[in-house]
Every structure is written in C-alpha cells, then in structure tokens.
Amino acid sequence: MFQIKRGLSLAIPAFLLLAIVGFIPLLIILYWSFWAWDPSTYWIKPDLSFDAYLAIGEVGRWTVLLSTFGKAFFAAILCLLVGYPAAMAIHFVATSRWAFILMALFTIPFFMSYLIRAFSWRLVLGRKGLINNFLVDIGIVDQPIDWLLFSDFAVMVGLVASYLPFVIFPLILSMQRVEPNFIAASQDLGASFLRTLFTIIIPLTKPGIFAGFLFVFVMSSGSSTEVKMLGGAGESMISIMINDVMRVVNFPLAFAISGVTIVLLLGIIIVGNRVFGLTKLFEDV
C-alpha cells in the first residue's frame, strides 16, 4: 500500500523548496568563503584563499565564537534543570486535564515573538524594573542593582526563557517510553524517590535529555535578539559578529564565519542523531 516511489514524488515540492532557498545558498556562500575581495567590482572574485579563515583566528573573533558556544552550553544546562521537573509534572504527576493545560502553556511560547519576550525582560530587570522596585521597596537593597540588565546575567535569563520549551517536549517524549512498572518496582524494593529518579528515571530518559540539550544549544548559538536586547555594550554573539562584518562588506569573512558555524551546528545534530537516536524520539508521533 505504501510506495517509496509515490513517497519520493510527494517529497519533491518540499525538497526543491528547501534545497533552492535553503541548502544551496548555504553551500554557495561556503564556496565563496574561499574567494577574495575585489575592489574594482565591489564584490568578490574566484580564488582559493584561506585568508577569511585565518581572520577568524584573530583575537576578538574566535573569542566571540567561544563565548557564544559557552553561553549556549550554559543556557542548555539551565534549561534542562528548569525543564526536567516541568516535564515530570506533565508526564508523571498531573491529571490529564492539567497535563493538557501545561502542554498548552509550554507550546504557546514557541510561537510568541522572541523580540517582545526579550524586550519585556528589560522592563522586569531594568533599574526601574519590577525586580529592582520590589527589592528596594522591601528594603533588601538601598540602590537598584545594576547588573540585572545589560549583562551576561540578563542574556542568560533571556536565553533560558526563550528556549525552555525546546527541552520540555523531547523530555516528555522520552518519559513516555519509561515503563511505569520499573518505577513501581524500585519503590517496592524500598528505594527513595531521589534514588529512583537518579537510577531509573534519568538514565532511561537520556535520549530526551540529549535531544533537549542539543535543541537549546543549537538555537541559542544562532540567537541574536536576546543579546541585542539584554546584553552589555561590549557583548557579542556569532550572529551579531556576522552583521558587523557585513556592515564593512567583508563578504569572505562573513561567509567563513557562517560556514564554520553551520558545519559545527549541523555536525553536532548529525552526530547527536547517530549516537542518541534523536529521530527515534519522534518515531511514535
């Protein structure tokens, strides 16, 4: 009844669209990253030059790459810590009605404006924001705290808030595969809740943990809104660095940074899929 041939012809529109608009332009700029700037045409000319890649090695460039991945790593860990209990609430604890309500509440942010959400953190974290007003009112501090906004702290809060839903869904999917009898057996044998959590539930949900981690890591690495809205003056991210390089029309360098980033991120996804079987998580859906 199912036919590969029919499947392939049905796949044509999506494949062509994604290839022409998405994949091919990315491959072309990867190719162009080896070309050289040509002042006479204000464009680049064919070459086999590694200058752009060497330029990434300059101080200020690779540090941005490193700090972006560092922030993304930290955001992913924080999202897991905050998201894991929420996923447990939805899958293990809530009645079906509440599970539905919580699922809806965690779905909505996927489709809410990242810009508005980051902007609204400004109002909460600012000198005259919600938190500072509260702290001053109850007398914990005399002066508003300055490091809440336009700082690494604010960026981290913004990233976690933005990408939290991305860990919750893989976690729930992996929890659905945990045999409830294992938990019951563990309890019957006298294990405490924490012991059951660390020896049964967490090991069995590893695929969801890795998938959630990868999603947040990859999305945060490519983000720019949160840093633009909440970061300090000197703070940068890969995406912002690319914008800056494009402003001085250094095409090969912008392409090289893009190339390195894409290869790294997609590489991580592909390896992650091989090792942890990300697609398996979605097989039942």
Binding site: P85, Y114, I183, M219, L266
Partner: protein
C-alpha cells in the same frame, strides 16, 4: 499519576519547580501587558483606577507601525499558505517513505537549526547576485524556511491518529491512493492542518533575523518595533506588543483547546 509519585513532598517540589518554569516564561510578557494599560509615560504597573486604553487608541495614528503591520500580515498569510501545503505534502511523503523516513524527517526539520542571520545572509546575497530587488516576496522565501519544519512536525503529529488499519481496509476495498487521502487522511488530520496554518502564520509574523536581510523598502513589523524599542520606547510599543502577545496566546491556546475537544468527542 504514576506510582512512585505519591509523596506529598515530591509532588510539591515538582509543582513548585514547574511554577518557576512558567513564571520565567510568562511573568515578563504579562508585566508588559499590564504596563500597556498604564496611561503614564513611565513604565510601571497601573493603579486599578488608572487603567486606560490610551496607548491602544494612540496606536491608530502610528502610520509607520500600521504600514509595517500591513506588510507583515501580507507576508505571514502567503508564508502560511505555502508552508502548510508544502509541509502537508512532505508529511504524506513521510508516510510512504518506509525506511527513508528518518532521513526525510531530519532533512525537513534541518532549516530550524540554521541560525536566522546566516540563512538570511546566504539567501540575500544570492538574490542580490541574481539582481532580484528585495520586496515582500523575498521575505516570504526566508520565512518559509523557518516555518516549514514546525508545520511539518505539527501535521506529522496529527497523522498519528490515522491508523494503518484504516488505510489497509480502504485499500482492500479498492480505494485508490487519492481516495484514501481525501476520504480518510484529510478528515482525520484537519486539526493538524489548521495547526500548520496558525503556527506558520505566527512564526512569520514574529520573525526577525531573516527578515532583516531580506526586507525591501517597507520594514516588517518586528523590524520596525525593534527600532522603536531601542530609541526610547514610546508606550504605544507596549500596546502593540500587548496586542501581538494576546493574539498569539489566543490563537495557539484556542487551537489546542479545539483540538482537545475534537479528540474527546471521538472517544
């Protein structure tokens, strides 16, 4: 509730941490929403007696924002139509692809992981070389890439209700592929298709980083808003953010509610 989670302490801990997660997501936008009803210029919570729609009414005279809104609505509508149709075909393909399913799934969702700035840059440079002047259509191209993976996942999830047996029975009774799709699959995955439309519309309406490279002379709404947010936000920005926030919550929440009701009716 699963066995093993009866302890009151465990449950309160889990619920408490869940509340924190929800607070992180919802506190700021709700605070912004509350501020938008404060007629004062300084952002602060309004007193109940002061609550006013002043900034919402003033929005009507913000020509720049309205023009951007119109542009964004046009882009989002076209993006939703193209993305949903393409994603639907991609999901029907997934059904047929047997062992190639996983590879196909990964391929279709890949654009979700490509940073928006890089995707926008790549596409815009190419369009520029092809001497295509940016206009709303070029923004649509970028947005399609962002919304297809989501629309595809939503439709794929809804395909789970289509049991293989239904299709087998129909095939045994002589139904062609087209009849199976129109008479069995479509009616069952209607909610998924509606979800695909709503979600791609919202993703496009709110998209920022791809648009900034692909936009023509008329900015999209998020780009215009970004400019205003950074040049000393006037309170009308709060009102507009409030409207978009409420619209997104109602659209997604309403969709999920209707979908759950339909599921309950079937039981």
């Amino acid at each position: 509730m699963t066995i093993g989670f009866e302890s009151k302490i465990v449950r309160s801990a889990i619920w408490g941490l869940t509340a924190i997660a929800l607070l992180i997501i919802y506190l700021p936008p709700f605070y912004l929403l509350a501020i938008s009803f404060n007629p004062a210029l300084q952002p602060a919570l309004p007193n109940l007696s002061d609550v006013s729609l002043k900034w919402y009414i003033e929005l009507g005279s913000e020509r720049g924002l309205l023009a951007a809104l119109k542009e964004s609505l046009l882009i989002a509508t076209v993006t939703a139509a193209i993305s949903t149709i393409t994603a639907l075909l991609a999901a029907l393909a997934y059904l047929e692809l047997g062992r190639m399913r996983n590879a196909w799934f990964m391929l279709v969702i890949t654009p979700m992981f490509v940073p928006g700035v890089i995707q926008g840059l790549a596409l815009s440079v190419l369009l520029n070389r092809a001497e295509i002047v940016p206009y709303w259509g070029t923004v649509v191209l970028g947005h399609i890439l962002w919304s297809i993976p989501f629309a595809f996942t939503v439709i794929l999830t809804s395909l789970a209700v289509v049991k293989n047996n239904y299709l087998l029975a129909a095939a045994d009774l002589g139904a062609t592929w087209w009849q199976r799709v129109v008479d069995i699959i479509f009616p069952l995955i209607k909610p998924g298709i509606a979800g695909g439309i709503i979600f791609s519309f919202l993703l496009s309406l709110n998209e920022f980083s791809r648009s900034s490279y692909l936009v023509g002379r008329q900015n999209t709404l998020p780009l215009t808003m970004f400019g205003k947010m950074n040049s000393g936000a006037t309170p009308t920005i709060y009102a507009l953010s409030g409207i978009i926030f409420m619209f997104s919550v109602l659209a997604v929440g309403g969709f999920m509610y209707l979908q759950s009701r339909q599921k309950n009716l079937k039981k």
